[in-house]
């Protein structure tokens, strides 16, 4: 019984967040959202989800704190190195035939994926002709992405991943270490536009050659995944590429026919033309 009440409270909170702030988590995978909201309730010191809802409705300052629970900011540079290796070896050779390129990193979190791609494009000589769009719904994550500063103790893993991705340079060429932090080079973000964009409530981006959206759709339910994939299809240029997270796929999507597998094992797809 108490269980059922809590599920109802969560439903109401998500509805309230949508109506009041236009953040729409109503169709996110519920088990994980529930886990994180219960954590928020405990850590933020509320006795019920309803009292947390009361507070966030009346106090906008509460919203970012709640967003930190509702969105999952877990990332890594060159996460799944084989994905980046496949981009390097199979996708970038195609992209190099275009005079100018647009790349969209959707759900870019705190920027690790953005800097990974920027480095990859530099190494392959495509950076200068590329504009990168890095988007997320969490303003604090976007700000962190823009800053490009990471704890130094994470760099070891990043370096290892970069090597495994077939990196042609040393990761240390791209950051300076100071006070326990690695500050990534400004030149990496010269061609990056950071902006607030939701895959749930916002519209298409035009004429992308590559969209990388990793470990975002795993948080969506099926219909929402479908919406996002439709958005990607409409945002891609002819024969553009879409890369997903290693446990995400187009298999169950109604848009599956709109794509062909390009590197199947790495969840890299290509827009199929009718």
């Amino acid at each position: 019984m108490a269980e059922a009440v809590e599920d109802l409270e969560i439903q109401l909170l998500l509805e309230a967040l949508f109506q009041r702030y236009h953040y729409d988590f109503r169709h996110y995978a519920r088990a994980s959202i529930k886990r994180r909201l219960i954590q928020a309730r405990i850590q933020l010191g509320f006795s019920t989800i309803s009292s947390m809802q009361d507070r966030v409705l009346h106090d906008p300052a509460m919203l970012p704190r709640l967003l930190d629970y509702l969105t999952v900011q877990v990332s890594e540079m060159f996460r799944d190195p084989s994905y980046f290796r496949a981009l390097r070896e199979k996708v970038l050779p195609h992209l190099s035939t275009y005079p100018s390129l647009k790349v969209w990193i959707a759900g870019s979190s705190t920027g690790e994926e953005v800097y990974s791609l920027a480095i990859l494009f530099k190494e392959e000589g495509l950076y200068d002709r590329t504009i990168f769009y890095a988007t997320d719904i969490n303003p604090e994550a976007l700000a962190a992405a823009q800053a490009g500063v990471y704890a130094l103790d994470r760099i070891r893993k990043f370096t290892e991943n970069h090597q495994k991705s077939g990196g042609r340079s040393s990761l240390s060429d791209y950051y300076t270490a100071a006070y326990g932090r690695a500050v990534f080079d400004k030149s990496l973000k010269e061609n990056v536009v950071f902006s607030d964009h939701s895959l749930v409530t916002d519209a298409v981006f035009a004429e992308m050659h590559l969209i990388s959206c990793r470990n975002v759709m795993i948080y969506f339910d099926r219909p929402l995944q479908d919406r996002a994939i439709g958005l990607f299809r409409d945002s891609l240029a002819r024969k553009g590429f879409l890369g997903l997270g290693s446990k995400e796929s187009l298999r169950f999507s109604s848009h599956a026919k709109g794509f062909s597998e390009f590197v199947g094992g790495e969840k890299i797809y290509q827009r199929r033309e009718a």
Binding site: E3, D7, A31, N215, K247
Partner: protein, 195 residues
């Protein structure tokens, strides 16, 4: 040790194991008959960048279908699902599986607590949860959640376990759990699924 009541209908089995898991699972899952009717969801702590070789190892030895869990996959009876390396495995209320890249819990991803707690929530008193050998505390809170939701909590007898810490921690958190050695677990599980 009293065996839990075999009369109530069960809907799923969840298992968590860490150090010594391979041997413990080999001693229990291959014993299940081909017509075993419940889904079995398993979290084993494996290094993040190791692909789940365990599923293929067990597939070779089990009468049931063994596979790596996929995101949004409907849960099928008589199938053994393993959490993929570096992802949490959760159960959704509608009977589908979900994966997540949320922060590690108890330093672990996949975490046993995450699976057990979400399964307790989805299945309530129809769930059977087992915490086997391991050298950390993951699974203790999850087993208690299963018990609190009316499900059946079973712990591998710490003296029977390759690593006693994890089953002991589960027992400390959930003293009402039944302890069994691996042989008893194997025959108990077999008895569950042949309804």
């Amino acid at each position: 040790m009293t065996a839990p009541s075999p009369s109530r209908p069960h809907t799923a089995v969840v298992i968590g194991a860490s150090a010594g898991a391979v041997q413990a699972l080999l001693a229990t899952l291959p014993a299940l008959p081909a017509d075993f009717s419940l889904p079995i969801l398993v979290v084993v702590h494996v290094p993040p960048d190791r692909d789940n070789a365990l599923a293929s190892l067990l597939q070779a030895k089990c009468a049931l279908t063994v596979k790596e869990a996929e995101d949004k996959e409907p849960i099928a009876a008589g199938t053994i699902y393993f959490a993929p390396a570096d992802y949490h495995l959760l159960v959704e209320a509608g009977g589908t599986l979900a994966l997540s890249t949320d922060e590690p819990v108890n330093y672990s991803r996949p975490s046993i607590d995450v699976l057990l707690e979400s399964a307790a929530d989805a299945y309530g008193d129809g769930l059977v949860g087992l915490v086997l050998t391991g050298a950390n505390h993951d699974g203790a809170a999850g087993l208690k959640a299963i018990h609190d939701a009316g499900g059946i909590a079973i712990v591998q007898d710490p003296t029977d376990a390759y690593a006693a810490v994890m089953p002991q921690a589960a027992l400390d958190a959930c003293p009402a759990a039944t302890t069994m050695n691996l042989d008893a677990i194997a025959s108990y599980l077999s008895s569950l699924g042949s309804a």
